[in-house]
């Protein structure tokens, strides 16, 4: 690693970005902080309530439930999508006409607007008009995602796998393509098994992109809003009301500014904390491995 040149004038180059992001991040965030410590009777009259909203929220059943649902959803998504993505990336062709076909079709779900993804799955999974729902009903499976919480969860999880596994696949594929052929030849000469090729050549080479994949998938699944909102609207009951849905309901539906603002801040802090932990742990592992390997 070459030392970077110290140059304070570089701040001028960063300034436009800083100003635009500050305008659209700091001002709104300050508004949220402001609301989270005040109460209002309307007419723009606010008074100070201190930490009350935070205390109420942290003790409320509703928040605990939404938080628990959110964490389990993200955990399930990561456990399925990451291994599945790696396996598919390993099986993808490296040359020939199959490559563009795979890449283009796999990238397609990523560019569909999120509510259209919801609509597609709504149409696909409905018992009366959907292929999936109709087939399951014909097979005698009791499946109705608008009434059965388990079916609703399964539908949303399968939809998320459909929507986002490609991201993991494409990232891993890029990592695999960057491995020089010489590595595989050396492994062949050494008589390495398929498993040890994966363990000692492919996995370490994919580590950087896997880190990005896990981070992106975690962040986006933790913030999921549009797709479950379109498919189930948070129901049946509250069974698929994730944090974002609950938050929007509170802020824009009921206009409870104080609690909504307090929830926003806790939500944001949780995401920041988890991302930071992820990032530190993963990069530490990376450093140790590169030291050990050298």
């Amino acid at each position: 690693m070459i030392e970077k040149q110290v140059n304070q004038k570089a701040w001028f180059m960063v300034l436009p970005v800083f100003l635009v992001v500050a305008f659209s991040a700091i001002i709104p965030l300050m508004t949220v902080v402001n609301y989270s410590v005040q109460d209002t009777f309307g007419n723009n009259q606010f008074f100070w309530v201190g930490m009350d909203w935070f205390r109420d929220l942290l003790h409320s059943e509703r928040f605990h439930d939404a938080f628990f649902r959110q964490v389990s959803f993200s955990a399930i998504i990561l456990c399925i999508e990451i291994p599945l993505g790696i396996v598919i990336a390993l099986a993808m062709p490296r040359k020939g006409w199959g490559v563009p076909v795979c890449l283009i079709t796999m990238a397609l779900p990523l560019l569909i607007p999120w509510n259209v993804v919801g609509t597609i799955w709504q149409i696909f999974a409905r018992v009366d008009i959907g292929l999936l729902g109709h087939t399951l009903a014909a097979l005698g499976v009791d499946y109705n995602y608008t009434q059965d919480p388990v079916a609703a969860w399964i539908t949303i999880i399968i939809m998320d796998i459909w929507h986002w596994t490609s991201l993991v696949v494409l990232l891993c594929y890029a990592g695999l393509c960057s491995i020089p052929d010489a590595y595989y030849q050396a492994a062949k000469i050494d008589g390495a098994s398929r498993l040890s090729v994966f363990r000692y050549i492919q996995l370490p080479k994919m580590q950087r992109v896997l880190l990005i994949a896990i981070l992106l998938r975690f962040m986006d699944s933790f913030m999921i809003y549009t797709e479950p909102f379109v498919i189930t609207g948070g129901g049946p009951g509250n069974s698929t009301t994730f944090m974002s849905i609950d938050l929007v309901k509170m802020a824009i539906g009921q206009f409870d500014l104080g609690p909504a603002a307090a929830m926003s801040l806790i939500y944001f802090l949780v995401i920041l904390l988890l991302c930071w932990v992820f990032f530190t742990v993963m990069s530490n592992i990376g450093e140790e491995r590169s030291k050990g390997g050298a």
Binding site: V101, L103, V116, I129, V169, Y225, V248
Partner: protein, 265 residues
């Protein structure tokens, strides 16, 4: 090993099946959708698409979406270029903190920002304009652009800069004439990602618009909640939102694998 191709094939079928079903629905009449169940349209009709292309409240949605997405791509990429250069070449006071702070905005849930954005843009009179949505999407697109471009720029050897400066180039001249052609594919990939995340986002776009700048995605949700769901038109509108994405993928298909790794393989 002979059966290796099976897995991607099965996966691609799984990906295409729901999209095929949407296409199937969009070519049927509403009566046929609700009365009979068939794997392909019995009475092929393009009526659903005609509704969208003739009704201004439908097609204006596509135009609005395109306008704010393009604005966003232009703003994000042009702001991010010099900043990414600064991050990849120089060290300055607070650079690491600034970089992490930028990334935290990519992690911020849009739901947190929906209400404050609404108030902010209403108070400065930008509510229901394309530029408001474009600026709001900059919140997550600029950090992403900086991140991707920084990855690509770090791949360009430093000698390129030094030679150019010795040859007497001024920085702006050097940057546009020599450096940007070097990372052209990186810029393409960045624009692709900005397009992608701005095109697929709904929550902020819907919160910040009412009539004049309403995106197609929001128009579709309105139709869902209206009485008497018109599944055929809804499916046709959905198909038409997939098209721009497919076109953009076609243009960047050669960079797609490396692009998704954000220049960091």
């Amino acid at each position: 090993m002979r059966w290796k191709w099976m897995l991607p094939t099965v996966y691609i079928c799984f990906l295409l099946l729901p999209i095929y079903w949407l296409l199937n629905m969009s070519l049927k009449t509403n009566a046929e959708i609700l009365s009979t169940f068939s794997f392909w349209p019995q009475h092929l009709t393009l009526d659903n698409y005609r509704v969208i292309f003739t009704d201004p409240s439908w097609y204006s949605g596509y135009i609005n979406s395109m306008i704010y997405v393009s604005l966003n791509v232009i703003i994000s990429v042009s702001c991010a270029l010099p900043a990414a250069y600064a991050f990849s070449r120089y060290s300055f006071v607070g650079d690491k903190h600034l970089f992490f702070w930028l990334l935290t905005n990519r992690m911020a849930p849009p739901a947190v920002f929906a209400l404050p954005f609404f108030q902010l843009y209403s108070s400065i009179g930008l509510f229901d304009t394309h530029i408001a949505v474009a600026l709001a999407h900059c919140l997550f697109n600029i950090p992403l652009s900086v991140w991707i471009l920084e990855g690509f720029m770090s791949g360009v050897p430093r000698e390129v800069d030094e030679t150019a400066f010795i040859d007497g180039y001024y920085w702006p001249h050097f940057f546009v004439k020599i450096f940007m052609p070097n990372i052209a594919s990186g810029i393409g990939v960045t624009a692709f990602f900005c397009f992608m995340f701005s095109w697929v986002e709904l929550l902020l776009a819907r919160t910040l618009t009412a009539v004049n700048a309403k995106p197609i995605a929001a128009i579709m949700t309105r139709t869902v909640s209206a009485s008497g769901l018109d599944w055929g038109v809804l499916a046709a509108a959905g198909m038409l939102t997939i098209l721009p994405g497919a076109l953009v993928i076609w243009f960047v298909r050669n960079h797609i694998a490396k692009g998704f790794a954000l220049g960091r393989v």
